[in-house]
């Protein structure tokens, strides 16, 4: 399949980066960008392909992060098992919220609002519940061994993050070409029409929500292992809900590579803004806000979509030039 070979090419190119780049600053930047790309890919599956715009994907990110951290710290469970449990917990939460919300028939604004409310409830509960460490947060003990999912070298962390992102790209690519993916796109384009032709829209949306939640939860699990610290503001904060939707929208909503392209661009611009102004609070987020408005105004299909348009126009022009030349040759 053409899409999968493109993913393989991109994966190979990105995997070669640590061979060339040894700077921890650059690798750290890339790890964070990949982390956001992963969270964004989760959002993209539900929002980009299914048209259900969640404003509260922090609920899944945070659940992944907390489950991974709390299982290790409080119950001494192996980090890799904790990682798997975090993803499972995120998926289960997605199934629970999805079942409630889609059964109630909430769409559009209502869906955005109710997902936001779930994330806020979880944030407040996590900031007072003893099991999460309440206001203090949960600190994972430093233990730089592979079996604890901690690595001495940034490069290995980078490769793990890359593997997760590549897995999410493959999932999205397979989804896009599957029958389920077509149903999901049908729901996005016109839910009533999809129902009318016999698509079980409730089941399709629920399935998309579960996959979406699992992928974003994986980003949360990785966050916990990478930074070794989780608190309610990080795990369930609005920042991650916003970055998870911002990256696919900037990169190209409902495209396989949109979240990855968007995450690299968003993080680069955010860091750029910080460098220029010397880390003034709020400035990087201001840039995000402006980008969101500009992309919707001028490139509603995101960067990937805009590039495709340019390519189509160029090939169109070349074809036109060829036929003009043929006409001229014919005399």
């Amino acid at each position: 399949m053409k899409g999968l070979s493109l993913i393989a090419a991109v994966a190979t190119a990105l995997a070669a980066v640590p061979l060339v780049v040894h700077s921890n600053v650059v690798l750290n930047f890339l790890v964070v960008a990949l982390l956001i790309a992963l969270a964004g890919q989760g959002w993209n599956i539900l929002g980009g392909y299914g048209g259900q715009y969640s404003f509260g994907h922090a609920a899944f990110f945070g659940t992944g992060a907390y489950v991974t951290a709390v299982l290790q710290v409080r119950y001494g469970i192996n980090a890799w098992l904790g990682f798997g449990a975090g993803i499972a917990a995120g998926a289960a939460l997605g199934a629970g919220i999805g079942a409630l919300v889609f059964r109630a028939g909430l769409r559009s604004s209502y869906f955005a609002l109710v997902t936001l409310a779930f994330a806020e409830v979880l944030r407040i509960l996590a900031s007072v519940a003893p099991i999460t460490g309440a206001g203090v947060g949960t600190l994972i003990k430093l233990d730089l061994r592979a079996q604890s999912f901690q690595f001495q070298s940034r490069a290995i962390f980078y490769l793990v993050a890359l593997a997760l992102v590549v897995a999410s790209l493959v999932i999205t690519q397979l989804l896009e070409r599957s029958r389920f993916g077509i149903w999901l796109i049908a729901v996005r384009e016109n839910e009533d029409a999809a129902t009318a032709v016999g698509v079980d829209t409730m089941a399709v949306k629920l399935g998309a929500m579960v996959i979406s939640a699992a992928v974003t939860a994986a980003a949360g699990c990785f966050y916990a292992q990478y930074f070794l610290f989780v608190d309610s503001g990080i795990a369930y904060g609005t920042w991650i809900s916003i970055e998870a939707l911002l990256t696919p929208i900037i990169g190209g909503v409902g495209t396989v590579f949109g979240p990855l392209v968007g995450a690299l661009l968003v993080k680069a611009l955010g860091e750029g803004a910080r460098l220029v102004t010397g880390d003034a609070p709020g400035l990087d987020l201001m840039v995000y806000g402006v980008m969101l408005v500009l992309v919707i105004a001028f490139a509603p299909r995101g960067l990937v979509g805009a590039l495709a348009d340019v390519r189509d126009r160029l090939t169109g022009r070349i074809t036109a030039a060829r036929s003009a030349a043929r006409e001229a040759a014919r005399g």
């Binding site: 404003f55 109630a104 609002l113 409830v121 609070p281 709020g282 987020l285 201001m286």
Partner: protein, 290 residues
């Protein structure tokens, strides 16, 4: 412990607080009723208005209650311009785009405030801020009584505008049937912007009423808007009387909840009510009058 007197006081204070919630919710529900979109920038605009009221007092010495007459028109114009120049053209009539544009504006405004004024908490001291009136059985704070009265006046004014002016009729026509209104010669883009302006003016008035007793930070508005979402959902999206009653109900619930269970659980209870109402009766407890 639960003497009827204390409960009465809690209920009365809840009603007075609820009036401001109602006003913030009124702006939100008005915009929803006409544009069919939730304005996620509402909270950021409230924060901006709180700063405006704060600086109007600090720099120009304008009393917050008088600042209403200055800030309401300014924020009306701001809201009009935002919808006419940014939200409308950027979203091109797509609901999902509109949601995202208002979210983008919220992020932008909130962080611009953070960048300009940092996260410091600001308050102003007014001689009358701590005055109370003795009602015999209880004391009530003067600023809260003033804001309660002001909210009633604003609601009445809004109702008069909506019922008896040509603009109000046009707004209601657009809310009911956009295409029909357009065919009848109504400039829909203009009406959308007017509505957004009115909603933003409500926020400016709420800010002026809040500033004497509340604090000002770049995120201060968010707390109110999350409550306002609840109010709007309770009262039925787009319903003006629903927003007023919903605001008062939420004020009382919060006051009694905080009194019985403590602050942060009181907050959770509001969200849980919100989710429960959305799931069970998305049209609102009182039903939307569309």
């Amino acid at each position: 412990m639960l003497s009827p007197l204390i409960v009465t006081t809690a209920v009365l204070n809840g009603l007075l607080n609820g009036a401001v919630y109602a006003l913030v919710a009124l702006g939100l529900t008005l915009i929803y009723g006409v544009l069919h979109i939730i304005n996620f920038a509402h909270g950021a605009l409230l924060s901006a208005a709180l700063f405006a009221a704060f600086f109007a007092y600090r720099l120009l010495g304008v009393d917050p209650y008088l600042a209403v007459f200055l800030l309401a028109p300014v924020f009306f114009a701001l809201g009009y311009a935002l919808q006419r120049l940014i939200i409308g053209p950027a979203a091109r009539g797509d609901d999902r785009n509109m949601l995202l544009v208002t979210l983008g504006l919220a992020v932008l405004i909130e962080n611009a405030l953070l960048y300009a004024f940092h996260a410091d908490t600001r308050t102003i001291e007014l001689a009358y801020a701590f005055k109370t009136i003795d009602f015999g059985f209880t004391f009530l704070a003067v600023p809260r009584l003033i804001s309660f009265a002001a909210v009633l006046v604003v609601t009445l004014l809004l109702w008069l505008i909506m019922s008896f002016t040509d603009t109000g009729k046009a707004i209601r026509a657009v809310a009911k049937e956009k295409l029909g209104a357009e065919l009848a010669g109504i400039d829909v883009a203009h009406i959308y912007a007017i509505t957004f302006g009115l909603g933003t003016a409500c926020v400016a008035i709420a800010a002026c009423l809040l500033v004497p007793t509340y604090y000002v930070t770049p995120t201060a508005g968010n707390a109110f808007v999350l409550v306002a979402f609840t109010v709007v959902v309770l009262g039925g999206m787009g319903s003006v009387p629903g927003a007023l009653i919903g605001g008062l109900v939420v004020g009382v619930v919060e006051s009694l909840g905080g009194f019985l269970f403590g602050e942060s659980l009181g907050q959770v209870s509001i969200f849980l009510i919100f989710i429960a109402v959305l799931l069970a009766r998305p049209r609102g407890l009182f039903g939307a009058s569309t």
